[in-house]
């Protein structure tokens, strides 16, 4: 009996999972303290309400996009928009091969990610939007100062690369969003301003942060080393780069 109940539950979960790769959840607007800011100098930013996809974009979704818009096939894409690793894990420009349909798509450039989101009337989330949602754990809106949460993320960051699982297998966070941590890194719209700041209105500090990449030294929460890692990672990217563990999801 117990196994029947569990089986039914699991089946229901599977059924629900079928449409995750297109589903959006509404994220209520809130005040967000960016990692690089300082709480004692009014660095808060207002993030307006928006919608975010529950899971990262998958191989099968991206394949459908590439078939719709052949400019983004790996054998046709302009080199300005993607480096040579673009979609290199697929068997051919239009076949996944051993790449599973429900795995998050990786080896995609920022340009390609943005074009995909554009094609379905969506966009990439901004850094503030992504970080605001990603600091929630299963129960707290802001778990960024919770050592257990931070450690969990850091453990993932320190693991060697393994095969990617399918999307949506991790528990939803407080917002109903899955896989923000523990599966792939994700492109954001404004990654090209990763290590700089500007919400500190004290002139000397503002100048210091504006012109020094060392804003990290003054970071909001030194304890949130996971956020620091993300900012550092983003600052190493370029919009053409493709990386085997870097994917994306769209917002609206």
């Amino acid at each position: 009996m117990a196994s029947l109940v569990l089986g039914t539950l699991a089946f229901a979960q599977e059924r629900g999972a079928q449409d995750w790769p297109t589903r959006l959840v509404r994220i209520e607007g809130d005040v967000h303290f960016p990692f690089y800011g300082r709480r004692d100098a009014s660095p808060a930013v207002r993030v307006e309400s928006f919608q975010l996809e529950v899971v990262p974009v998958t191989n099968e979704q991206f394949l459908a996009f590439v078939r719709r818009d052949e400019r983004w096939r790996r054998d046709r894409v302009a080199r300005l928009f993607a480096d040579q690793g673009y979609l290199s894990h697929w068997a051919s420009p239009t076949e996944l091969g051993e790449a599973r349909p429900r795995q998050p798509v990786t080896n995609v450039s920022w340009f390609a990610a943005r074009a995909y989101c554009d094609s379905i009337g969506r966009r990439l989330p901004t850094e503030h939007e992504w970080e605001m949602v990603a600091k929630a754990d299963e129960t707290q809106r802001d778990a960024s100062r919770d050592p257990v949460f931070v450690q969990r993320i850091l453990r993932w960051y320190s693991r060697p690369r393994g095969e990617l699982t399918d999307v949506g297998l991790q528990p939803a966070n407080r917002h109903g969003v899955r896989d923000l941590h523990g599966l792939v890194w994700e492109w954001i719209l404004d990654f090209n301003a990763a290590m700089i700041a500007g919400d500190d209105r004290q002139r000397d500090d503002a100048r210091n942060e504006r012109f020094c990449g060392g804003a990290s030294v003054q970071a909001q929460d030194v304890a949130d080393y996971a956020a620091f890692m993300r900012y550092a990672y983003r600052s190493s990217l370029r919009a053409q780069y493709t990386v085997p563990n870097l994917g994306f999801r769209c917002a609206r």
């Binding site: 990617l164 090209n192 209105r201 503002a206 020094c212 900012y231 370029r238």
Partner: protein, 248 residues
């Protein structure tokens, strides 16, 4: 095993185990690098941030590199991002900009002309005048009608066509060869992304940004990247001279 089965089995496993731990699946940087990154951040010294080449697929291993010129002074711009693939051409950028006469301009229009490209904004009083000054010096030293100069604003809202016309007059720019460009928000970001320029709008309306002058050949390939301010312009001048003296 099909993905459907995978979902089912894992769901069952999670239900049985009450487990909320994510599966160990993703690539990441090594812990040792994390420690190193912290050390860099704490002891950051003036460091040549840009210019070293990162091969595709090695970027992830370069993840933690926050040591951007901590000893910077007020006029020091943000570091630029890595150079792009040399086979890429900026002429592929579909973005349409507007010049001070409100005419549409895209980078394809510079086909056949070696072109200096930079980004700035009009109300910038520190970094941008120096970038414009460097562009003028290069242009003067090259002294060729074939050379084009394309300068796009980070701030199309405040840098209106009228304001850009005034700037062009004030700085005595040759309107036939110097194009001051305004894009929309997406177009501005696309150009910055294409060139590897970091920027962010600040709450006071100013922009933090990298200082970068790029030289394109007549096919739109980046052949020289001049980063920073107050550095010798010899290399970019020499390269531009070669290009303008080449095939028509």
């Amino acid at each position: 095993m099909s993905s459907r089965t995978n979902v089912w089995v894992l769901s069952l496993a999670l239900a049985l185990a009450g487990c909320d731990e994510p599966a160990p699946t993703a690539e990441a940087t090594e812990p040792a690098e994390h420690a190193e990154a912290t050390e860099h951040a704490e002891h950051a010294e003036a460091t040549e941030h840009a210019g070293h080449v990162v091969e595709p697929h090695e970027h992830a291993e370069h993840a933690a590199d926050p040591h951007a010129d901590h000893a910077a002074h007020d006029h020091e711009p943000l570091p630029v991002l890595e150079g792009a693939d040399p086979t890429a051409t900026l002429h592929d950028l579909p973005t349409v900009f507007r010049d001070p006469e409100d005419q549409e301009v895209s980078f394809r229009d510079f086909r056949g002309h070696p072109t200096l490209v930079a980004m700035f904004y009009g109300s910038c009083t520190t970094v941008c005048p120096l970038i414009l000054h460097d562009l003028a010096r290069i242009d003067e030293a090259v002294g060729s009608d074939r050379l084009r100069v394309a300068v796009a604003t980070f701030d199309p809202e405040r840098d209106t066509a009228e304001r850009l016309r005034a700037l062009r007059t004030e700085r005595d720019m040759d309107a036939a060869r110097w194009k001051l460009l305004r894009g929309d928000e997406d177009g501005t970001r696309d150009l910055a992304m294409s060139l590897g320029i970091q920027y962010r709008k600040l709450p006071d309306g100013e922009f933090a940004h990298s200082a970068l002058i790029v030289l394109l050949d007549g096919d739109g390939h980046v052949v020289e990247r001049h980063e920073g301010l107050g550095r010798p312009l010899d290399a970019v001048i020499a390269r531009a001279r070669t290009l303008v003296g080449g095939s028509p």
